[in-house]
Symmetry: C2
Subunit: 449 residues, 2 copies
């Protein structure tokens, strides 16, 4: 019944998505956030969903709360987590149409946010609308929590979750994104890695010196090179004492699932034009690493003269940005303490360490019944789907687990090559429709369990 | 006699220097070079010196040649090497007056080029003028060679020296600069270090990747860190095989001279706000290092995200600029080959090495009679002076030795705190007068030997 409604009213999903795309909402620039949040509240109301804005602090983009109490099944609650902010649209010159055009070409609708995350959001609103318009009820309680700072690191997510813990309480969470692979199989992801993002800096002199003085004045870039070299070996293994101590081992079920995940080494190498993988990984090693390996990545290094040609300068300072991906049970603050201890014990106490961001990893257990619920719905809607123990990326899933104590699963409509965060981002129209129907099935299945 | 002339006509030296300062001649911007060179030719002609412009290639700033044949002593030739180009005047906001003002305040004349190198040049022109105007002759042949690209690395100096080798032939060279220390003692420098400036770069992928892929894609910044760590130990010793093989050892006379050079560790550390020297050097070690230690300095390192906050990026490329200071007998090309061999043998053949600049070191022997000639003149003029085996800096002295086969000695009027290359550059008027007289004494002494 809902599926028919979706087919019949699909043009309104597309035109609503266009409206959303055409309202820029760039959190990094604090652009259009309030406007976009109000637009969504109205759209949800038009779909029959109670919606309101939530606030934690002045000057911070509001979040949107949405809710409908189920008459038939008021004791089970499913929460949809989404975000209405988008990545900056730059570089402008690489867009074929205007970044916020919402232009349709064949099976694609283009524009910043078309996939990430306005496309995902619209499928969920429209799935709920389908129930309300066809039955006047929903199979279980539905809640929406839509934040406006995801693209800048969900900086106030815990403030929201803490303040509105009761309002947002639920039994399960559908995460804000979900990929569909090149064979049209949804990838159902059960977890996200954590992140410890730090800045290591060394200030030697008060100003750049003539490099002829390198015989006397210590070079801060050299200091960082020396310190960095002690952190990681050439295969990517992190050499900091006890770095892996708290890491949870894979279960047998995890390994089984991981081994079934598809990964096309040849295409991947071609895509990035690389010849080999870090540590010469092959086969299952690759898949296990994506799901479960902590990393120590140099995200940025800057010191001295960076222009063309030669400048004989001895830099006064050097700075490196490192992102450590974490896996379940690594605590960002504990790992930070281990890093600091390591530097101190290796004689690098002259290097300043600042934590920019810390976020623990989270994973929903493979044996949680919600996994089966989602997997069945996806298989039914798409013919097949893929379970993934964890995404290689990071999101605030741990905060949701911490405050809402619910399993979180990522499933959605975003084609893997949809160019999210890049020019010419698009959503595939066929996937939007399939996913809307899939969301109906998830709601239905979830209500039954 | 010449000294009296200089005293009497000193105001013309100052006003001519002002004219030179007020004619901007920034080689890095190709600004005012032709105009400045013509101004100098006219000024030299007014002093009675034959002067003309030299050219090697179209589009390259001309050099200036000046010459007077001596009637009394036509078999000995002294050449003055100078440059008429100046450093860029930026940052503008830090200048108290306009950068090309030539403004006089007390004992100082301000402006870009006032010391480096227009102040030096004017003392030499006026010293020669003093002989011509008082005696109608010079004690020996005098030549001037004034280039317009010193501040951008004297890029065509060898083209000039080769093409005009005969015209510029001489028995000794007075180098373009010379410092006077805070106790008003000229530092007579007999050499300059060489330089090998290279860029090491690593390109991994074709574009930046999401850093969650750090488990698979090698990080080029890590590759450079690993390669760099093999080049140098924490005390500054270079670990490349045979790097020091060709280095000429100090003579006993060198060591004696070096040990007499003043160096104020306390002031130096205060000036740069550092607590210790590389390798914990003290006393004679410091002085020996400044004169004779090769270095491996990171002049710049750039990779990935360098802005504020966090960006989880896996950079596609990384680049480091290294300047190796060389000492006599190190050949830049030979050292480059050693660096490349080292990288290859250590498994870093994926790292690209580009040579940006190479220049060998040069030193005039302590036992060369020209040393005594200059030292005596400086002692007479200033009461005392300091001999230095070599400057810690680099200049094209080796090219002069190669083509002109003559001893080169740096002696001049530039106060050590004259802020050359910086805002509010100035020349001290008292030192300009003393140095002009000192140049007369050098010419006289040289003619006699």
């Amino acid at each position: 019944m809902q599926e028919k409604y979706i087919d019949k009213n699909f043009s309104s999903l597309i035109s609503d998505l266009q409206k959303l795309i055409r309202q820029p909402s760039v959190s990094a620039k604090n652009l259009g956030l309030e406007e976009c949040s109000r637009l969504i509240v109205n759209m949800m109301k038009n779909s029959g969903i109670h919606a309101e804005l939530l606030y934690v602090k002045k000057g911070i983009p509001p979040a949107i709360y949405g809710g409908i109490k189920s008459k038939q099944n008021p004791n089970k609650t499913l929460l949809f987590y989404n975000h209405y902010d988008v990545q900056p649209e730059e570089p402008l010159e690489l867009w074929d149409d205007k970044p916020f055009s919402g232009k349709i070409k064949g099976n694609k609708i283009f524009g910043r946010g078309s996939a990430d995350d306005k496309g995902e959001l619209i499928t969920r609103i429209k799935a709920v609308e389908a129930f309300l318009k066809t039955t006047g009820d929903v199979p279980c309680n539905i809640k929406f929590f839509i934040e406006g700072e995801e693209e800048i690191g969900s900086v106030h997510i815990e403030d929201y979750l803490k303040k509105y813990q009761k309002k947002l309480s639920c039994d399960a969470v559908i995460w804000e994104f979900g990929y569909v692979d090149e064979k049209d199989r949804p990838i159902i992801s059960l977890g996200m890695k954590g992140l410890l993002y730090v800045e290591l800096s060394k200030m030697e002199s008060i100003r750049d010196a003539h490099s002829s003085l390198a015989v006397l004045i210590e070079n801060p870039a050299w200091r960082l090179v020396e310190a960095l070299k002690t952190l990681r070996d050439e295969d990517g293994t992190i050499l900091i004492k006890d770095w892996y101590k708290d890491v949870v081992k894979f279960t047998k079920q995890d390994i089984q699932t991981i081994s079934k995940e598809p990964f096309d080494s040849v295409s991947f190498k071609k895509e990035y034009r690389i010849r080999k993988f870090v540590g010469n990984k092959t086969g299952l090693q690759i898949k296990k690493a994506l799901v479960g390996d902590p990393t120590c990545n140099i995200a940025g290094f800057t010191s001295g003269y960076e222009g063309p040609g030669a400048k004989t300068v001895l830099p006064s300072k050097a700075l490196v940005k490192i992102d450590f991906r974490l896996v379940p049970n690594m605590d960002p603050h504990k790992q930070l303490a281990r890093l600091k201890k390591h530097l101190k014990e290796n004689g690098f106490d002259d290097i300043k360490v600042i934590m920019i961001h810390g976020e623990a990893a989270a994973r929903t257990s493979m044996s949680d019944p919600f996994v089966r619920t989602v997997k069945n719905a996806a298989d039914e809607s798409f013919g097949k789907s893929i379970l993934s123990v964890s995404s290689a990326g990071t999101g605030p899933m741990f905060s949701f687990v911490k405050f809402l104590h619910s399993p979180c699963i990522a499933v959605g409509s975003t084609y893997v090559f949809a160019r999210i965060h890049s020019p010419n981002e698009f959503a595939r129209i066929d996937l939007l429709k399939k996913t809307t129907k899939c969301m109906c099935k998830i709601i239905r299945n979830f209500a039954l369990v």
